[in-house]
Symmetry: D2
Subunit: 311 residues, 4 copies
Amino acid sequence: MDDRETISYLGPAGTFTEAALKLAPQAVGKTWKPVLNVLEALQDVQAGTSCAAMIAIENSVEGGVTASQDALATMPGLRIVGEYIVPIRFSLAAAAGTALDAVRTVAAHPVAYGQCRLWLNRMLPGHVHVPAASNVASVDLVLANEGAQRLADAAITTPFITDHRDVAILASDIQDNGNARTRFALVTMGTELPERTGRDKTSLIVELPEERPGGLLSLLEQIAARGINLSMIASRPIPQQPGRYRFVLDLDGHLHDARVRDALLGIRRLSPAVTFLGSYPRAVASTVPVPSAYSDENYQAAAQWLQGLER
Amino acid sequence: MDDRETISYLGPAGTFTEAALKLAPQAVGKTWKPVLNVLEALQDVQAGTSCAAMIAIENSVEGGVTASQDALATMPGLRIVGEYIVPIRFSLAAAAGTALDAVRTVAAHPVAYGQCRLWLNRMLPGHVHVPAASNVASVDLVLANEGAQRLADAAITTPFITDHRDVAILASDIQDNGNARTRFALVTMGTELPERTGRDKTSLIVELPEERPGGLLSLLEQIAARGINLSMIASRPIPQQPGRYRFVLDLDGHLHDARVRDALLGIRRLSPAVTFLGSYPRAVASTVPVPSAYSDENYQAAAQWLQGLER
Amino acid sequence: MDDRETISYLGPAGTFTEAALKLAPQAVGKTWKPVLNVLEALQDVQAGTSCAAMIAIENSVEGGVTASQDALATMPGLRIVGEYIVPIRFSLAAAAGTALDAVRTVAAHPVAYGQCRLWLNRMLPGHVHVPAASNVASVDLVLANEGAQRLADAAITTPFITDHRDVAILASDIQDNGNARTRFALVTMGTELPERTGRDKTSLIVELPEERPGGLLSLLEQIAARGINLSMIASRPIPQQPGRYRFVLDLDGHLHDARVRDALLGIRRLSPAVTFLGSYPRAVASTVPVPSAYSDENYQAAAQWLQGLER
Amino acid sequence: MDDRETISYLGPAGTFTEAALKLAPQAVGKTWKPVLNVLEALQDVQAGTSCAAMIAIENSVEGGVTASQDALATMPGLRIVGEYIVPIRFSLAAAAGTALDAVRTVAAHPVAYGQCRLWLNRMLPGHVHVPAASNVASVDLVLANEGAQRLADAAITTPFITDHRDVAILASDIQDNGNARTRFALVTMGTELPERTGRDKTSLIVELPEERPGGLLSLLEQIAARGINLSMIASRPIPQQPGRYRFVLDLDGHLHDARVRDALLGIRRLSPAVTFLGSYPRAVASTVPVPSAYSDENYQAAAQWLQGLER
């Protein structure tokens, strides 16, 4: 097996993370290697035993969002090359022939279980929760034994489970929040950037040089002063430095946009502790227009004007 | 049982959340009611069946951070009255007499399991993971049966477990990251504010009125323009409005500080969709000094000057 | 003569400053006292020998703009109660019967002379300039003697001169710049503010507490952060402190607008060295709309919200 | 006479403007051509009949500051290559043998006269003012005739007058304000920049693209966001567009400083209507330090970092 052809992901097959892989053109034809958590997936990439990892970076029900952010901040050389959004929908699965009103025990990953409480309270009052390590492991608990030996009567799982396990779906869309979505990122060690598409995103992690009122403002001014929209921001405590924070940022635009290069230069001058995590196509196009003052054309016009000042 | 005397928390007894309760003066003498997740705890408070809930709001290993943020944004009337920080330290516990090298199966909540991978790989190579619903349920799996019937040989659990279960500690501080800490908040429905201590924090959730480059900057300017330090910020997608975000913010200072009142007024004028989550003593004092221009005294001096302009 | 009924102005009668007085409703029925310069006019007001002074504050052809700014900054208690704009138009006047082509010598205030150079070069090449102390004194030089004794054949003067002197106009609108206008201010010692009209202006002079990059920006942020348009700004060196500057500012709005009060408070907190020069109706209505976030209504809504946080 | 060897200035010899010329190394060995006003001096430069003009740009007692600003904004191709500061000190001069108490009439340029009012009121009460076209022409009125024919007994003039006219100084330093200074600029049509000295200044004139609250702030942010101190700002009404303003700005630094180039690019993108008036050594070194984040070294470090992102 050629390592350059393997992608690590939070497994096993059938998870939401695997669903994200199915959305990624770069994953087609590669070997998909299920691992136990985000850190393991990223370590495979750093070690070169996988060419990429798919990890959750927002709103995950499979865990790992802050772990992902902290890993990207501290493991050098990682680059995001694409993002993918998977709607979070849960199904209740059971062995063929099981009726809903016969379900007494429900296997579920604790987070998934938490997201289906309203439905469970209404439809299965008095059931018992059997914890599972993942949204697929829950099904395996149901299938492990039969009859009275069963560890669980039914399992909370993903809608894709029927591709992987021989189960019947007792109920679909049982999640409390109908709009939940998880954002995933495909991460590599390469330095080649995905081509600019015009609807791109650039991810950064920045530590401020000092704590003072307005410190974050100075950072964000470097972005706003170039007409760039910020689509995500999160402060993360720096473990070794109590009271200090680093900032995880997503900007609209690509490193090949003049305004983004300009903003990166401004941020880097303000703080040498900046990590560029990549420029890549957005999963959902931004609805925030770029002011014409910050177009590539206007950057070029200004540069020509400046050059013309000294002839 | 008087409901006003009950506090809900993510149980069972022995969790990190219970450890946070032990730090809260307001919790002394109350009944502590273990519940299954953050939402349930907050619903108890809203329903009035508990007077308060202790929930994780940063860096949790027991889940619930983004769930907490989203619940605080959407469940009206909640107020934070205190914050508490618990270091995240894991122990490996087993029935008395179990030797470390006899451990083949390890019960653990999936997140806790993920945080001890390095130690487990080094000390217990080849072990099998048995998922548990919490850092206490893991121990119960060990204690449920004996001998060959045991569901797990050892459990990853909190350092406080020996107060609650009769187990022996095989190893302490087995977590990969020695500096991890979880921040908890005590949440009520009251509108009485904790007294100003001089080292306070104010929490807000704000939705911007429109998406445009610099929109977040306008918001943060309202804070920085009053010399106020921002100690936490996180954007959270608004589920019903794809592409739009709300911002969870922690400011240094108390609603009774003139500069904080002034900043809140400025934010409210900018965006009517602002939720005040409370002012309360910080768990760790801020190291960021307030410029003298923004002292209460200087607010008063300016107000007097303005009044003097028209006599 | 009741001193409260006298207004000092840069005389003599027939100047542009007198034309500004004719525009001021407050000047009707008062005694108009011509003086020699701006400082003298303001000293009359401070001494109480006049109730008001009319002074040029922008673009003057009769001198005194920076002198006015510096006097307003250093003479305590002065307040602007109205502004008036007079177009700067010059005429060439002579004794009845003088033909244009007979003019060899032209009496003119040096500044007025400078503003009519193009016309003079074209129409009266080879003429000689005879300096005069004012745009009226120039005419007096023409009228002082007759025939060969004449000190000047013609005078550059204001269009209103025929109301005051018995001269013929040889040419009108001889100024080089057809759009020049001078802005005048009526200044008193009172503290009663002119009523808010909805198209008002507020004038300030501010010294920054320290010299640093962005110092002026902090000041202007206090204004922009309240949605207020700045219609004039000028830095003026502080004579006693080489390298330091004070700033003369005109804002859109009235002290009775909540946003203006709020901005003044913010400026005063930033710098105790702020002089409020008054709120008064603009001579020309601003074309810059106020964002609705900064309306009085929204200020009130925000204040009510804040009050509601503690019940 | 080689035109490239002539410098025009507000004459005649003996004025403060001539004193500024004496401070300029570039003026040594050139022919100094006295002209009647700023516009004429600048027209000589544009026409190529002079290689440079010395004009007052701040606080002038010889007139012309706003005229200078407006001319620099509208006459294309002009560049400032140096600035010079002359203290404003006035003397009272008379023909040899005249005693101070015999002075009844005082010749003076109207502005100079206004600046010596306190001394005149105290020392020469009851004197009569005879207007003069300049601070040298005043002396010529004294010297024109003798005895009873004299047009004036004494003249207010510059301290340098004795180099040019045969007069006696009756009193020195008679100006009301002991700290007044005029700033002059030497203006050319060349595009070669004076070498960077480390204590330079850059002058600009900028029109904002639209009138809105915070428009000026956006402009100044482009400057402050590069750690650059603003040492002068003045808004000037645009004659043809009532209610609109252009801004005259002096920045600390030279076009060859990376931060200044960067700020100019930012300003140019914001507003195409920007006029670069030159970079030249400051007459007085700035006391405002440049933050190290904006040093040339840090600009280079950031550029290298950016380049390294794509290998």
